[in-house]
Amino acid sequence: MSSALEPAQDLAPEEPRFAALRRLFSRERPATLVASAVVLVFVVVALAAPWLAPHDPLAQSYLRINTYPSAEHWLGTDQFGRDVFSRLLYGARNSLIFGLVSPAIAAVVGTTLGVAAGYFGGVIDRTVSRLIDTLLAFPELLLAIMVSAVLGGGFWNVVMVIAVAFVPGFARVARSATLAVKQEPYIEAAVAVGLGTMKTIWRHVLPNISAPVVVLATLWVASAIRLEASLSFLGLGTQPPNPSWGNIIRDGLGNIFGSPWPIIGAGFAITVVVLAFNILGDAMRDLLDPEIQ
């Protein structure tokens, strides 16, 4: 008779490492593959803008105002004679920074609030939830416009404005995910083992709510890029002469019937990058479930 103390257990074959990552980029998901390529190009362009750009994005030339695309100026020039293509490349840099920094700040703040509300409940939950509700009552763009109208349009102000606009979203997602995770027996198991509250949250709650938060962050990279462009277009975001996709469109608006190329170029860049991040976010949502991996 075999004893229960004897290791008679064969284990299932181990999954190859990074299986989820491989699946993310498998041939069965061509859209994800293209989206990832777009994001990669976007990041490379943003980082290498100084080397890639054929001209100084700030150099004005009154000899070439509002020109059409040419071999030298691929997207023509704007009303100050600046090379639109170079401004587009430098604008990518701007978008990348806004796109990453604002959601990151929002994710940290929002997740902290949401986890606290979901895990502790009671007064903390009621306070955080009312705050979320209040902030959510304002459309993101409106909230951003209001705050930047008060604070002005400097770089950090815009970052903070966008972050504040995104905090309630993260807090809400983190709160509902925490409420679900808190019901899981492994949380009770951690408490039963004797783990303290903060360690329980750090080790058992956070890793298990990370999936929806990461997905949201990815999707909101796209929103942040879009929001920054909108603010810059309205003159509240990146201040001229620094290039941003939003203010390239704004600058191009005056001459839309002369040369539509600045608007087409920047509009195309925004659309493609935002779409790519959205597709990537959806793919991550599908793949981040630990039970499916």
Binding site: E184, Y186, A189, R203, S210, E291, Q293
Partner: protein, 337 residues
């Protein structure tokens, strides 16, 4: 008399009714556990049986202080848990561990087996240093019948039975003296249940800890328990040594429960007592004896008076007005006022 490892005295828990606006019809909330007293000796297995909603899982959690009791007290090694300092309570936490029902839900999907099993060792500072920790975890895994190679895997690559072994490893890691096992085999395949039941018994023989074994499967309980506690709607209706409770159940509910279990034998005699109706909601517990709405013996007195637990033999008690003599051997008394 010798002090038992754990003594539970008159413990009770009332959960607030959710949603204050809708409270009108069940003003008192839900009475999950009501005046339960029991004791668990060293190296003893006490089984708590009953159907869903009888409060058996809540009772286990009250004893471990995972839920704060509304009243009553838990005395662990002679010390009242409510009076302990935070430091003393930590030591009790180390001594009293738990095995959960759901082998899938009770292991965090994002932590490796080594991390899961090492957690209590780390929390209580029992083992320090990475090397020593891995050696200790490997040793514990071997004890529960898992290869040390399982250490770096995630729970998802294990079967239900293997996951339950991991859960048991976590519970025994800190060297407890008392383990609450909440339906530890009910989610497992039949052919795997026996492995886990045997493992729990082998570990008890090796380490000498006590079990509070919570279950609804009376056949499993018959195998593992020394003493049995039968609960119905938050109250103990019968308590006694296993042999006596199974051979001569005194409470009509225990009798019905035992007769309802389908026997894996096509020729088994079937004299089944089929109880009418459902278990009443714990937010509307009947007056007097809570079992009277389904009891084949119910009389007027049952609605009026709540029967106390009365000894029918030394160490064996039942909470029924007609518990003496055994209600099946004698006709129900007709002389009720």
């Amino acid at each position: 008399m010798r002090e038992p490892l754990i003594r539970v005295e008159n413990i009770g828990k009332t959960f607030d009714a959710p949603g204050r606006l809708l409270r009108g019809n069940s003003a008192g909330g839900v009475r999950a556990v009501d005046g339960v007293s029991l004791a668990v000796d060293r190296a003893e297995t006490v089984a708590v049986v009953g159907e869903s909603g009888c409060g058996k899982s809540t009772l286990g959690r009250l004893i471990l202080r995972l839920i704060e009791p509304s009243e009553g007290r838990v005395v662990f090694e002679g010390r009242d848990l409510a009076a302990l300092s935070a430091r003393e309570m930590r030591e009790v936490r180390r001594q009293a561990q738990m095995v959960f029902q759901d082998p899938f839900g009770s292991l965090s999907p994002r932590r490796t087996v080594a991390q899961i099993v090492a957690e209590p060792l780390e929390v209580f500072g029992i083992v320090r240093g990475r090397r020593a920790m891995r050696d200790r975890v490997a040793e514990i895994l071997t004890q529960v019948g898992l290869p040390a190679a399982a250490m770096d895997r995630f729970p998802r690559s294990f079967s239900g039975g293997q996951r339950q072994r991991i859960g048991i490893a976590r519970a025994i890691a800190a060297g407890p003296s008392f383990v609450v096992a909440d339906e530890p085999v009910s989610a497992l395949d039949v052919s795997v249940q026996a492995q886990i039941v045997n493992l729990l018994q082998d570990l008890q023989a090796a380490h000498g800890f006590s079990y509070l074994f919570i279950a609804h499967d009376l056949a499993v309980v018959r195998h593992i328990a020394d003493r049995v506690v039968v609960m119905y709607l938050g109250r103990v209706v019968e308590i006694g040594p296993k042999q006596q409770v199974y051979r001569a159940p005194h409470h009509p509910y225990t009798q019905a429960l035992l007769s309802a279990v389908p026997q894996p034998d096509p020729d088994a005699p079937r004299q089944r007592i089929v109880l009418a109706g459902d278990v009443p909601s714990p937010s509307r517990i009947p007056s007097g004896c809570s079992f009277r709405t389904r009891c084949p013996l119910a009389q007027e007195v049952c609605a009026r008076e709540r029967p106390p637990l009365r000894a029918v033999k030394p160490g064996h008690a039942a909470a029924c007005h007609f518990a003496e003599p055994s209600p099946l051997s004698a006709a129900p008394p007709s002389s009720s006022p």
